[in-house]
């Protein structure tokens, strides 16, 4: 499936920003099952300082604010061709050892609630089935809801809140999958929802590593493995490592953000 993506993130500040940086992970890469035909990132109100690949082979751009700006806009436009591979991403490439994906991070640390979920998950059977069952358990414990105001919640906080968005589902799933012995990681990307062109937000899901199969994707929020409507952009141990945009700025200006995201089949 060929998807055309237009993704604009616009930040405004109530005062000029003297100095600021944004680290952006918004460049999908071609890989088996995913061909990036064209992709452009355009920044207004800032400059791309450097570009590099991080340890997870994500393409990263470091953007600096043009000094004194009170607006910055990052626009991604591109076309990606995707094949449905039933969520199978394949073997671990690069230098990152698999054990790294068993590590807990502040966002993926199990507390009593996540541990109860882990205990309820099937402890034997085929790995893929167990992980799909886990995915369903997570969605049952944390129904989808955009009511949650806070972002950057830990898996345990999410369980306590009792509802969440795709990012929250991914964190709970990753935390539990690791505890069950599967290396697991966070994926940020795009999903074309069938019924609309304007998407609410970029998407997030999880991947678990299964022996002899490699990485397999699980979109917990939608209860399926990713298909030809999913564009993988960045992966990491959790949201913080794969976030589309993470920044730091000097001064006390308050930030307001708006996003326009269109994903449509071509």
């Amino acid at each position: 499936m060929r998807l055309k993506i237009h993704h604009k993130t616009h930040y405004t500040y109530d005062a000029p920003v003297p100095y600021g940086l944004q680290q952006i992970r918004l460049r999908p890469k071609s890989r088996p099952g995913q061909v990036v035909e064209d992709w452009d990132i355009n920044v207004t109100g800032g400059e791309v300082e450097v570009s590099f690949e991080d340890e997870h082979a994500n393409a990263v751009d470091l953007v600096s604010f043009t000094p004194g700006q009170s607006e910055i806009e990052i626009t991604c436009t591109g076309t990606v061709d995707i094949e449905d591979r039933a969520g199978i991403v394949g073997p671990q490439g690069g230098y990152v050892p698999l054990w790294l994906f068993r590590r807990s991070t502040p966002l993926t640390k199990a507390g009593v609630r996540v541990r109860a979920l882990i205990d309820a998950a099937p402890q034997d059977g085929a790995a893929v089935d167990r992980l799909h069952a886990l995915s369903a358990l997570v969605l049952e414990a944390v129904p989808y809801s955009t009511d949650q105001a806070a972002s950057d919640l830990s898996a345990e906080d999410v369980m306590e809140a009792g509802h969440g968005v795709c990012q929250d589902h991914a964190h709970v799933f990753i935390t539990a999958a690791r505890a069950l012995g599967f290396p697991a990681r966070y994926v940020s990307g795009y999903l074309m929802m069938n019924d609309r062109v304007d998407q609410d937000a970029s998407h997030a899901w999880a991947e678990a590593h299964i022996e002899n199969l490699g990485w397999v994707g699980f979109d917990i929020s939608n209860g399926i493995s990713p298909d030809a409507r999913y564009v993988r952009v960045a992966t990491a141990l959790d949201y913080r490592g794969a976030a589309p945009i993470s920044g730091l700025r000097y001064g006390n200006a308050a930030e307001d953000m708006s996003v326009i995201l269109q994903v449509q089949q071509q």
């Binding site: 100095y19 940086l21 680290q23 300082e49 450097v50 570009s51 590099f52 690949e53 991080d54 340890e55 082979a57 990263v60 470091l62 600096s64 690069g94 230098y95 990152v96 050892p97 054990w99 790294l100 590590r103 141990l237 993470s246 920044g247 730091l248």
Partner: protein, 475 residues
Amino acid sequence: MASDQKYFDEMFGHGTDARAPYADYCNWFHHEDTARLLAKSEEAEALFRLIGVTFNVYGDPDATERLIPFDLVPRIIAAREWAKVAKGIEQRVRALNAFLHDIYHRQEIVRAGRLPAEMIARNDAFLPEMIGVSPPGDIYTHIVGTDLVRTGDNEFFVLEDNARTPSGVSYMLENRETMLHMFPELFSKIKVQSVSQYPRSLRKSLGACAPDACSGRPTIAVLTPGIHNSAYYEHAFLADQMSAELVEGHDLRVVDGRVAMRTTKGYKPIDVLYRRVDDEYLDPLNFNPDSVLGVPGIMDVYRAGGITIANAPGTGIADDKAIYSYMPDIVEFYTGEKAILKNVPTHRCSEPEALKYVLDNLADLVVKEVHGSGGYGMLVGPAASKKEIEKFRAKLEASPGNYIAQPTLALSTVPILTDAGLAPRHVDLRPFVLVSPDRIDITPGGLTRVALTEGSLVVNSSQGGGTKDTWVLEE
């Protein structure tokens, strides 16, 4: 002075006659008046205090407490003895850099079954952000301090590797400066290899590691956490001595794809940053977001090849004392040679059999925290009370993986000057090593640390140790 027979005394061996490297010095010493030397000793302290006072002017009321006692009897090493030590250090430092490269790439040593993956996986100093990063010349540890102890005429052991941030080189330089000032006649009688070239060598060595982005003469800066850091004096001293800028995090920012420092003429890009700020605080954008000591985005510029950070982030993994226990294997794996310098036999308490042995022999062993340094949190069995041993036993049983144990080494002694004349005290040695793509440069000698308390084996300055000038004689 008759030496204690139990320990090798570097001046007298196990006998009463001066060993060859000390012959000329002892001859001189015997014609000296002890009272004059004791007065010189006070003069030396005044000199150091002056430096301490300079430090104090910047507003640190504790500066005088940091004055490390200096003993004016030099520690003397023959050229032939040093050559062998230097060869061993060079081999070890090559292996360390190859190891660091491997750990952040294919981890061949783990694949080959020579190092358990847990040694890396459970090591807090392993920095995932360094995976796949190849710094210029594949040098990760540019400035190394290899701590050595001596137990006999030809017996040197490596006590620990300091691949992260070895400090103390300013003491090495100041000690020599002070000795030259106080005893110029000694240096005309005895030919001692110079150490004063260290700052120039440091500059050259760092410059040789400049990134491709550098054009022309490399710009070098020393990044300090600031005046409240206990080693601030050394940071300022080194920057001054090698004509580099001394900067703090807030002086730097990302400009035109480089890390640049504010100058009166605008921002100037830095090619090589000799940083004395720990990994965790180096970059609030990539590491601890609360850090005000670092430079946001420096890791991004680094990974894009725009700056050399010395030492590279993530090198601390090699300082881990559990990794240390594998150093003979590490040296062999990467150099194909047996290690020239010996390791102290080390029991890894994470291994049940080793733990049992250690618990049964606590009174005879030195037990150290795997990630510890500075002589804190360690047990020196033979010097500890029964109560201290039992207290430590509980800690060890609670988290055995946190500890390693070693036999108590019969550390060599070198005499210090006391009111009663010469008296033997235990010493160790930290030579300073500079690594660049073209060469490994080892300053002859290094920093000799001396336990000032009679019988004490703990030489750390934080535990009441002092320092000595270290002489390596000319051939």
